[in-house]
């Protein structure tokens, strides 16, 4: 059951007593309803005083129910709290073990929603909804069972009606959900096309297309209207199913009572009292139908969390390997995430203590090569070796200890610049942090912002892309691992950024560097150049060798040289 999976193992045994106590609470409510039969029977008789003992019993059962329900809510609170704390821990642990390759934009959103939205929502539901909903589910059968002893034909009819009512409730909700989902999908399409229409105004007007007729937008808006009417076929039965089932049940049960009365099985007072019990029997279903949207949303939150926990973890080796000298080797590596080929039979070696630059057109798979070294993804064919061992032979920590990494799109933590650098080596003293920062040109950012603990904003938003990369380079310098992986920024490049990259290259030059390079100066510093195109390494060698060979890199090099001196000139064509 879904509730049990959400709970931490140590809290699961507490679920059964909770449910048993909830059943008792439902029985107490049922008892209160059934006690009305003798009570009203006496009250409507010629000796109404005889109702008083029953009234005391009714009051006692309701009071006992109150005490028990209060206790149940506190139990539900404790269960919900245990769920919340353990689920937070499980989600964070799990996300730390999922392959980085899993995190697309949609998955990132999913993970964020699960962490910050779903868990608190589940907690709130367990406090506010769980007890009420559980009792509301148990109450109609409890009253039905009790009726078997008071007026068995009525009890039988009620017990038969109960599944019908629950079914109608679920069916109605499902139809409504389907209708709303259809409508939302059509609206979303119309909205997306309208937004595209807004964003492309310059283009569309230049093309003289300013109307919606005959465009995807016009089509989306028309289909949205059609859908608005079409959902009726779900909405109508959706809203009517439940209320019709309720009314039909009421009429049937009253009819059963009428028959019993006509046959002389019950007298008038008892019949009236039983009608009240019938209304009590239907009442919890109304409660449930009101709670239903909230229950649905809770169910959705739970599914979102469990979906995250279902993502497979990246496998870890039983035994940790010991890294050798800091060299990198690709052996016939293939990588095809989702069936789309990104890298194919890539083989190369980066000698320990050398600089290798990866060069090539955009989209050729350059950054992917770096991510495979850091095992952000696992290869589909061949092997990636680091320190003379397959990267998959290391425990994650051991592998990461070998690497300083500067990514293309650097995310910073919300916090100060110094804290953002210090994360690379939390034990580092202030001088070390400041020295690394100065070497990467971060001191200039600090001077601009005024202080070392100046907040960098959410995700580093207060800093430009180039500045974020400098902070990231400072991190790499501070960490000082045997291997540097550097993905040079293409946008927002400024001189300070270029200088920071150069500093990193000279610092790590004696160790091992693998860099995705765009600038000619960076490429010129490399001992080895890998020219990557279409997911393959098509040329490898030193710059001079490759230029002499007159291949793709040679063309690339001369194109890039030419681009530096190009200017707007109508005679240049």
């Amino acid at each position: 059951m879904i509730v049990a999976t959400l709970l931490p193992p140590e809290a699961r045994p507490r679920l059964v007593p909770y449910l048993l106590l909830a059943a008792v609470a439902a029985c107490l409510r049922a008892a209160a309803a059934l006690l009305l039969v003798p009570l009203l029977g006496a009250l409507f008789s010629s000796a109404p005083r005889e109702a008083l003992p029953w009234l005391c019993a009714l009051a006692a059962s309701i009071a006992a129910g109150w005490a028990l329900e209060r206790h149940l809510v506190i139990r539900a609170f404790d269960l919900g709290f245990a769920m919340m704390t353990s689920m937070n821990r499980r989600l964070v642990d799990h996300l730390l073990a999922v392959p980085i390759g899993w995190f697309g934009a949609a998955q990132q959103g999913q993970a964020k929603r699960a962490l910050a939205g779903a868990v608190p929502e589940l907690f709130a539901s367990s406090v506010n909804l769980a007890t009420q909903a559980t009792i509301a589910v148990m109450l109609p059968p409890a009253i039905g069972l009790g009726l078997l002893f008071v007026a068995w034909p009525l009890g039988l009819a009620a017990l038969l009606a109960a599944p019908l009512l629950f079914g109608a409730l679920l069916l109605g909700a499902r139809l409504m959900r389907r209708a709303e989902a259809d409508y939302a999908a059509a609206s979303e399409e119309a909205a997306a096309r309208t937004e595209e229409f807004a964003r492309s105004q310059l283009l569309l007007r230049a093309a003289g297309r300013t109307g919606a007729d005959g465009t995807p937008l016009g089509e989306a808006i028309a289909s949205q209207k059609r859908n608005g009417l079409r959902i009726l076929w779900f909405t109508l039965p959706g809203t009517l199913a439940f209320s019709l089932a309720m009314q039909a049940t009421l009429l049937t049960l009253v009819a059963v009572l009428a028959l019993m009365f006509a046959q002389g099985v019950t007298d008038g007072a008892r019949t009236v009292a039983l009608i009240v019990v019938v209304l009590r029997f239907l009442e919890p279903l109304n409660t449930l139908s009101e709670l239903f949207p909230a229950l649905e949303s809770t169910h959705g939150a739970a599914s979102r969390m469990l979906a995250i926990l279902d993502v497979p973890r990246q496998p870890e080796p039983e035994q940790d390997a010991r890294p050798g000298p800091p060299a990198i080797a690709f052996r016939d590596v293939g990588f095809s995430p989702g069936g789309q080929r990104v890298l194919e039979s890539v083989s190369f070696t980066v000698q320990a203590g050398s600089i290798t630059a990866i060069v090539g057109p955009s989209g050729s798979g350059k950054s992917t090569i770096l991510s495979l070294v850091a095992r952000l993804h696992d290869v589909d064919a061949g092997s990636v070796q680091l320190g003379e061992q397959d990267v998959r032979a290391y425990r994650p920590q051991t592998l990461m200890d070998q690497l300083s990494i500067v990514f293309q799109n650097v995310q910073l933590f919300e916090g100060g610049i110094d804290a953002n650098i210090r994360i690379a080596r939390p034990s580092a003293n202030e001088e070390a942090v400041h020295a690394a920062a100065a070497a990467a040109g971060v001191d200039e950012i600090v001077a601009r912002l005024g202080r070392w603990d100046a907040p960098v904003g959410e995700g580093g938003g207060a800093l430009s892309g180039g500045e974020r990369q400098r902070v990231s380079i400072a991190r790499a310098l501070l960490k000082d691992a045997p291997i540097l992986l550097l993905d040079e920024a293409t946008s927002g490049l400024d001189t300070l950024n270029e200088a920071a990259v150069m500093t990193a290259l000279s610092r790590f030059g004696q160790r091992t560097v693998l860099i995705v390079a765009h600038r000619l100066e960076t490429i010129a510093r490399a001992d080895q150049i890998l020219f990557v195109e279409g997911g393959r390494v098509i040329e490898a060698g030193s710059r001079d060798e490759l230029i002499a060979a007159g291949g793709r890199f040679a063309d690339y090099w001369s194109d890039r040289q030419g681009a530096r001196t190009w200017r707007f000139d109508r005679d240049a064509v």
Partner: protein
């Protein structure tokens, strides 16, 4: 003990006391005193919006232990030190707060409570701000004046209750016009000058009755929609909470007319010179668009509400009939003929209600579908008429909000919320009215559980206002920590992080929720149990027993209560939640209305077409500003002869891109003109038909847009009839032909499906598009070349091909690319400060030479 009672009530409503200690006392003007206080628990980093105020509990000068509450605006709250100031107006005779302030010394303490924030939250870009109030409002008005942008138009109308009041310092603002009016309840209302206030936003704070009169005046005389008046009553005349800064009781007790009359005259005297002109055009607020939008639905929704009310009654009636049936049974009637009529009626009513309900649902969905369709078409038509400059990222977000979220809210309101609210109100009201007719005494008893609920609930809500703020803060922190964790996950992994920051935040949030909610859980369930059916049942049965046994009630009269009364509490609760979607829908309509009211491009005179042949472009004293009084471009004169290349350079923010957008009517100039020179004639671009202008001026910007469709469609966008050979020629010249052929479906590949283009490739495609469209005038953004270093040279070749013999205006970011331009215009702060060829400019001292040298230095280092 009014203060004491209020304090108790406020506590019940969730206020918590904060003790503050006086740090310093400064008299910043005669009778105007600022007191700085240490308030570490109150100013603790939580959000304190502009003009937010708290309640001070001022001790009664005579009666010890008695306190008076007064609203005071937070002045200069400093979260770092936990300090805040309050401004007091000191007048004789002193009231409690000013009396306390007059005697305050360093080390004195006073308590305060957060109550509600009085947030200054005007709509975006109103025409101007009308701020009105009595001296009590001056600290808040000062805070607002300090926040308003300097170019904003502001009218401040202040009421001087006593002679010294006009000496109170008011924050200076370059666009503010300050008027003083005299004392008296109606003085503020009378002091509003007659003028066109269209699209102004009013913020008013004063005495309760004065505010009421002022709102009426603003709304009825001056046309302000109520939604555009933010009002707060700081005090109520005649109540114990006297004039906030406790001026003499005199103004309160003096007969109104005696004071009001001269005050009005004084006011109009002052005001007369402010704005003598009468409104020339009909008064109109953008926010009215939303109301009008819903107005088309009004009668339909009202009819739906009436029908739903009827349906609700029809659904209740069978229970009433059932009670009647029970009554007959108890009376000993056993004959089926006497009972069957009731039963058949009940079945009939149920059936009819079901049919009507289905019909209502059908018609509401039909209404909604038609309304939604018309709305979407209106939005689209509107978008096509807005100036191109309107389409910024922020405005794109407002389109998203309108067509996605707000349209959905209106859909929910039409199809669900209205019937829900009506049913939610009609059902309990009908029930209680019916039960009162049966037995008023017992019916009155049904309010007892509701009272118990309110009491328990308010007991529970004690201190909740503070907690809610902390809760919101934790939620924000948890969201931020989760975002940071997920986004930085690659880095977290690399540095062996264990997500400690996130874990600590989530644990902190859990700990807070536990500490706050656990003690509340018991109380919360108690309040809920009070309004659930068992409580009502017990109450009905117990009272019934007592009344029947004592002979005060006929047994049969208990039946309606047993049948209908038990669910009363649950029904009442349902009403409370029903209004939320209605309010949301109203706000949604308002936002959509604002979008539909955006200023359109004026095309009333756009009738001319252009003769064939080469075209030039001329800016004549062209000025432009996004807001009045804040120009971005000042009198630009620039002449682009046919077939020349002109470059715009200058620091960022100089106005280069704004200027480059003017030839396409991204925005219309606010002064001067932009003209296209054809033959010997210079034609204002506003006189050209949209088609003529669009075929004359082409744009290639760094923000490349591809539409969803094939690559062929994308290139041929402006000339859908172009021959394949022409399309290929353009693609070849733009260096993209071979890349397209390399795709599996070539020119038939669909953008986003099997054609995934890099930044540089998309740029070359857009250049091919411009080549095919072949406009005589071309506006370029040179930053194009930055995106994709690997294919930069191809983009450059494509650009060279595109320039051809056209008249070109290029926004340049790297100076070395424009050294061959025919003219370089150097811009700074919205003006052209230098112009000439590269060689000329390089030999003159000035901005261009500075920029060039800075670039050269950067290269060298």
């Amino acid at each position: 003990m009014a203060g004491g009672f209020q304090k108790t009530m406020m506590k019940a409503l969730g206020a918590t006391d904060h003790v503050m200690t006086v740090l310093s006392v400064t008299d910043i003007a005669p009778g105007f005193r600022r007191i700085r206080l240490a308030a570490p628990t109150m100013i603790d980093g939580r959000e304190t919006p502009t003009a937010s105020y708290v309640r001070l509990w001022a001790p009664d000068p005579i009666e010890p232990g008695k306190v008076h509450q007064r609203g005071y605006t937070l002045v200069d709250p400093d979260a770092a030190t936990g300090e805040v100031s309050f401004d007091f107006v000191l007048h004789e005779p002193m009231g409690p707060a000013s009396g306390w302030a007059a005697a305050a010394q360093r080390g004195d303490t006073i308590t305060a409570s957060y109550y509600m924030f009085h947030k200054f939250d005007p709509p975006e870009d109103p025409e101007g701000y009308l701020l009105m109030g009595d001296p009590a409002a001056i600290p808040a008005i000062n805070a607002i004046l300090g926040e308003l942008p300097p170019e904003a138009q502001v009218v401040v109308i202040l009421q001087a209750n006593l002679p010294g009041d006009a000496e109170i310092p008011v924050t200076s603002h370059p666009g503010a016009e300050i008027l003083w009016t005299g004392a008296g309840t109606g003085a503020l209302a009378a002091a509003v000058p007659a003028r066109d206030w269209s699209n102004w936003y009013a913020w008013v704070a004063a005495e309760n009755t004065a505010i009421k009169q002022l709102r009426v005046a603003l709304n009825q005389t001056h046309g302000f929609p109520l939604a555009d008046i933010k009002h707060t009553a700081y005090w109520i005349r005649g109540k114990a909470m006297r004039l906030r800064k406790e001026a003499a009781p005199a103004p309160e007790e003096q007969p109104e007319p005696a004071v009001t009359q001269p005050a009005v005259e004084a006011a109009s005297a002052v005001v007369g010179k402010a704005a003598p002109e009468r409104p020339a055009r009909p008064r109109r607020w953008r926010s009215q668009g939303g109301t009008e939008l819903l107005a088309t639905l009004r009668w339909k929704l009202r009819a739906a509400g009436v029908l739903q009310g009827l349906i609700s009654l029809m659904q209740l009636a069978p229970l009433v009939l059932l009670a009647e049936l029970g009554r007959r049974l108890l009376a000993g009637q056993t004959r089926w003929e006497n009972l069957s009529g009731l039963a058949l009626w009940a079945i009939g009513l149920y059936g009819a209600a079901a049919v009507l309900s289905a019909a209502l649902m059908l018609s509401l969905h039909a209404v909604d579908a038609r309304f939604g369709h018309a709305l979407r078409l209106r939005v689209v038509a509107k978008l096509a008429r807005l100036p191109l400059g309107w389409f910024t990222d922020r405005n794109a977000a407002s389109v998203h909000q309108a067509v996605q979220e707000d349209a959905g809210r209106l859909h929910y309101m039409i199809t669900h919320a209205v019937p829900d609210v009506v049913a939610g109100i009609v059902t309990p009201v009908a029930v209680i009215v019916y039960l009162f007719t049966v037995d008023a005494g017992l019916a009155a008893m049904l309010f007892l559980p509701l009272i118990a609920f309110v009491a328990l609930f308010s007991h529970m809500m004690r201190g909740v206002a503070d907690k809610l703020v902390i809760h919101a803060d934790w939620t924000k922190r948890a969201n931020a920590a989760a975002s940071a964790f997920v986004e930085a996950l690659p880095v977290v992994r690399v540095f062996g992080g264990d997500g400690r920051a996130l874990r600590e935040t989530l644990d902190g949030q859990a700990g807070f929720l536990n500490g706050w909610q656990r003690p509340m859980a018991g109380r919360k369930v108690a309040s809920q149990l009070a309004i659930q059916p068992p409580a009502f049942l017990l109450l009905i049965v117990a009272t019934g027993c007592w009344r029947i046994i004592s002979g005060g009630m006929a047994p049969a009269d208990l039946l309606p209560f047993l049948f209908l009364g038990a669910a009363f509490g649950a029904q009442i609760m349902a009403v409370m939640y029903g209004f939320v979607p209605l309010r949301e829908a109203k706000q949604a309509a308002r936002r959509i209305g604002l979008l539909l009211e955006e200023a359109e491009l004026d095309r009333s005179r756009s009738l001319r077409s252009l003769p064939p042949g080469p075209l030039g472009l001329r800016f004549e004293a062209a000025s432009f500003g996004y807001r009045p009084r804040k120009p971005v471009l000042h009198g630009i004169d620039l002449d682009l002869k046919p077939g020349t290349l002109t470059a715009l350079v200058g620091p960022s923010g100089a106005g280069k891109s704004t200027l480059a957008g003017l030839p396409g009517r991204f925005h219309d100039v606010t002064g001067g003109a932009v003209r296209i020179v054809a033959g010997g004639e210079a034609i204002d671009i506003r006189d050209l038909t949209p088609e003529a202008l669009q075929s004359a001026v082409g744009f290639v910007f760094q923000d490349v847009r591809l539409i969803k469709g094939t690559l062929r469609d994308n290139i041929a966008l402006a000339r859908p009839g172009a021959a394949m050979a022409e399309i290929e020629a353009a693609a070849r010249a733009a260096q993209i032909h071979e890349r397209i052929l390399a795709l599996p479906r070539g020119y038939d590949s669909v953008v986003g499906e099997d054609a995934r283009l890099s930044g540089g490739e998309a740029q070359r495609l857009s250049i091919a598009r411009a080549l095919l469209a072949d406009p005589p005038i071309l506006v370029l953004d040179e930053a194009t070349a930055f995106v994709d270093p690997e294919s930069e040279h191809l983009v450059q070749q494509a650009l060279s091909a595109l320039i051809g013999q056209r008249t070109v205006l290029v926004v340049a970011h790297r100076l070395h690319t424009i050294t061959h331009a025919d003219c370089i215009a150097v811009m700074q702060a919205g003006r052209i400060v230098q112009r000439g060829r590269h060689d000329e400019l390089l030999f003159k001292p000035g901005l261009y030479r500075d920029l060039w040298q800075a670039g050269a230095e950067r290269k060298a280092s």
